[in-house]
């Protein structure tokens, strides 16, 4: 199934010497447009394809940008196949320093927080903030708590954390303001020596499995 793109693209703009910014209507999934771009015959002449909330940004040879820019407004791209992607099981030890506070704020018991967090199937929504940091959505409504009022100077890599509708695993030691509820107990999902470096990709499903 394909859907014509008419109305899906708000604008296509050349940026600088080597950039193209494709702006999308609200209902369009940037990852579908990015997938279309990566399948385009000119894709090998691009150095970056960066889908974001409302845009897809390309860097590459100007001639390739012009050709893709001309193709985009009339393009048709495949529907996102909900069965696409793999399921990755991540073993987690629920031992985070904020676990009790999250339980207090949500009015649940610690056991119930763990049960709800590990009993949900998440999808990889996007990457950002730090290299390889995947954002998994969507956290059950009952677990949604805001970020901590003041961030920690150092969150150890492998920390499993929640804030608002997302849950994440810190890929590196970094500052961070999320609520830490556990620790990854298996191999890292982000490994710069692996090819690709990310064990999960956008659209994959992620399940957390409690390790005691």
């Amino acid at each position: 199934m394909t859907e014509p793109a008419s109305g899906a693209i708000t604008s296509v703009r050349r940026v600088g010497d080597r950039g193209l910014l494709i702006e999308l209507a609200e209902r369009v999934d940037a990852h579908r447009v990015a997938a279309f771009v990566r399948d385009h015959p000119c894709a090998p002449e691009l150095t970056e394809v960066i889908p974001a909330a409302r845009t897809v940004f390309l860097l590459g040879r100007p001639s390739a940008l012009d050709r893709i820019g001309r193709a985009i407004p009339t393009a048709a791209w495949p529907e996102v196949d909900e069965r696409r992607g793999k399921t990755v099981v991540v073993p987690v030890r629920y031992d985070g320093p904020d676990l009790h506070e999250v339980a207090e704020r949500t009015g649940l018991s610690v056991r119930e927080v763990v049960r709800r967090h590990s009993g949900t199937e998440y999808r990889v929504a996007f990457f950002g903030f730090a290299p390889g940091q995947a954002f998994f959505s969507a956290l059950p409504d009952v677990l949604r708590v805001p970020r901590r009022p003041s961030p920690r100077v150092r969150v150890p890599s492998g920390s499993v954390a929640i804030a608002n509708e997302f849950t994440v695993i810190y890929p590196l030691d970094s500052p961070g303001g999320w609520n830490l509820i556990g620790t990854r107990a298996g191999p890292p999902l982000w490994n710069t020596q692996a090819q690709p470096p990310n064990a999960v990709d956008v659209g994959d499903r992620v399940v957390f499995d409690e390790v005691r």
Partner: protein, 296 residues
């Protein structure tokens, strides 16, 4: 490494192709100087070399090696002997290379035949000073491996174009957009007619410019989007910053314009206090948008 000076890192052509995973490109601040340094010692243009900021740099060769210095002109000595910039020089085991502060500019490159052979991370040996990927910044007592794949040192016959300049005033070309429409026409005029001063906050991420305030016309927030190297981003403070080699792959403040690629290294080499004026490459409303017929 005996003394790295204020900052010395390993840099090559950068880590491109991973922006969608949140990975900055990094790489040399002055790519032209990096490629010239490499060509002098017979390396491919984007081979890893040492980039150092404002001199104060001392290193001992433990093995014989051909090396070259390019970029910001530093007074350099191999033992007691002055070293010519933009040439290759042969160092014997035990020779000590010292570099004083540059006469102008910020970033100097030391390339060694064979390249600096630290393990690559995501196919680059560059230190990413924003996210910590790649080798850490160089520290005293570090020992750096040199690769064996070097070619033959030579002096290229072409004239070297340099990004570091002694001028205290700089004119840089830029393209409007993609978010020039977030500013009034008057603010856009201010941006291209004002004289900007390079702030003393020097890092590999951005050059900060101080001058008249550039207020946003829109009050809503811009959703985060991918950015081009050389993007001139205007945060709510109204003081623009120009994204350099180690910029984040995405940004959340409107980009009023993007420096022309040929001027990016000149911006990177501009020392604090340099006065900068911005020249638009074409007049217009601030964006190059494709029309219905599919042309720009």
């Amino acid at each position: 490494m005996l003394s790295p000076g204020p900052q010395a890192t390993i840099q090559d052509g950068g880590r491109s192709g991973h922006g969608h995973l949140g990975v900055p490109r990094a790489g040399a601040m002055d790519p032209l100087a990096l490629s010239q340094a490499n060509r002098l010692v017979g390396n491919p243009a984007e081979t890893a070399a040492i980039e150092f900021l404002l001199g104060g740099f001392t290193i001992r060769f433990t093995e014989a090696a051909s090396f070259s210095l390019t970029g910001a002109p530093v007074a350099a000595y191999l033992g007691p002997t002055p070293v010519s910039r933009n040439r290759w020089t042969y160092a014997r085991p035990g020779d000590v290379l010292t570099a004083g502060p540059p006469a102008y500019g910020l970033w100097t490159y030391l390339a060694v035949a064979g390249g600096i052979d630290v393990p690559p991370v995501l196919s680059s040996r560059s230190t990413d000073s924003l996210s910590g990927l790649g080798p850490p910044p160089l520290a005293p007592r570090d020992v750096l491996p040199v690769g064996s794949g070097g070619g033959t040192p030579a002096v290229p016959s072409d004239v070297f174009v340099e990004n570091a300049s002694a001028g205290r005033r700089l004119e840089l070309s830029f393209h409007w957009g993609p978010r020039a429409d977030w500013f009034t026409e008057e603010t856009c005029r201010t941006f291209r007619t004002a004289t900007w001063r390079v702030s003393s906050e020097v890092d590999r991420v951005a050059a900060r410019l101080t001058g008249p305030r550039l207020p946003h016309q829109c009050l809503e927030q811009l959703p985060t989007e991918g950015v081009h190297p050389g993007s001139i981003q205007v945060p709510p403070s109204g003081q623009p910053l120009v994204f350099l080699a180690n910029h984040p792959p995405t940004g959340g403040y409107p980009v009023i314009g993007v420096l022309c690629e040929r001027d990016l290294g000149r911006m990177a080499q501009a020392a604090p206090g340099t006065m900068v004026s911005m020249r638009a490459t074409r007049a217009g409303d601030g964006t190059r948008r494709m029309n219905k017929e599919g042309s720009w």
